[in-house]
């Protein structure tokens, strides 16, 4: 491959805590060529599927989520942590290592029969993405595709997303 997107991802040891290798896309974001390359790959997955809404997960999912929505001529819908969205929301919970958290979407953001692309920068354990799918389905949206820039395959998040069309550009099979 002439252009290797992995060269534009920075790996940072022990962030946010010991034993975790953080995959940092800020080095990609500051390079417009790498951004266009990433966007083109994500559009290969999503073009021609009549997507009407792109849901981006707070907050890094807002970056390519809004770019995808704009290119696909679809609406952009932010999925946010509790208490951030001001109007009536629908939510779903997901487990964390210790405790649980929630993801919320405005009730009026997804219409019945909306064809939804869910986007986040990274697929790890899949908990947040699965909760976002639950909310979209509660709102009667049809989930067409889930797209990620990076997938940490060793965390097996895809297992939680069984039955959905899940795509990612870059895969890491270990913390190394």
């Amino acid at each position: 491959m002439l252009f290797d997107l992995k060269d534009h991802i920075r790996s940072i040891k022990d962030f946010p805590k010991q034993g975790i290798m953080f995959r940092d896309i800020t080095t990609l974001l500051k390079n417009p060529v790498a951004v266009n390359y990433t966007l083109d790959r994500l559009l290969e997955y999503s073009t021609g599927k009549n997507i009407t809404k792109v849901v981006g997960i707070e907050s890094r999912g807002f970056i390519f989520g809004s770019l995808l929505a704009n290119k696909l001529d679809a609406g952009f819908v932010p999925a946010r942590k509790p208490g951030k969205l001001p109007a009536e929301t629908v939510s779903a919970s997901y487990e964390l290592e210790y405790g649980a958290d929630k993801i919320e979407i405005h009730k009026d953001a997804i219409n019945k029969n909306d064809r939804v692309l869910l986007h986040d920068d990274l697929l790890a354990t899949g908990g947040t993405a699965k909760a976002a799918c639950e909310v979209i389905e509660k709102l009667n949206g049809k989930i067409i595709l889930l797209s990620f820039i990076i997938e940490l395959t060793f965390l097996n998040g895809i297992r939680k997303l069984n039955g959905f069309d899940v795509r990612s550009i870059i895969k890491y099979d270990s913390e190394d």
Copy 2:
């Protein structure tokens, strides 16, 4: 005006607390026509100024920040709350009603002589934007323009941003 962007902003009373009228852009975001209109206005301010980096303030500033960077063929740089960015950062503090908070930018995200557009969805008291400007200047970036979708003129945020070129599409002169 045939197209009034204010029609696409939802005003929510007493959010996040009593006495505040929250200006909600999620109703704008879900409409691709309103997004393109907003983007075109923001591009009128920024096109032809040789912007090399667009800094978007977490997290709603990521949405049009990334769209602007892509259209201007500039790099995108997230300005984030403390502890979110994994590599070495530079930060500045700003006052809140009770206490203070900080905004951080990766040290390697802005180069000397970068021509910077700072973007956020809303200009209120200007504290966050001013702190972000301080960080950009610590990194020797040149601040060319600050652009916002909405400005709450009665909070006089522009006074804190004296000396900068500040543009906003929509102005509200009271909480009503």
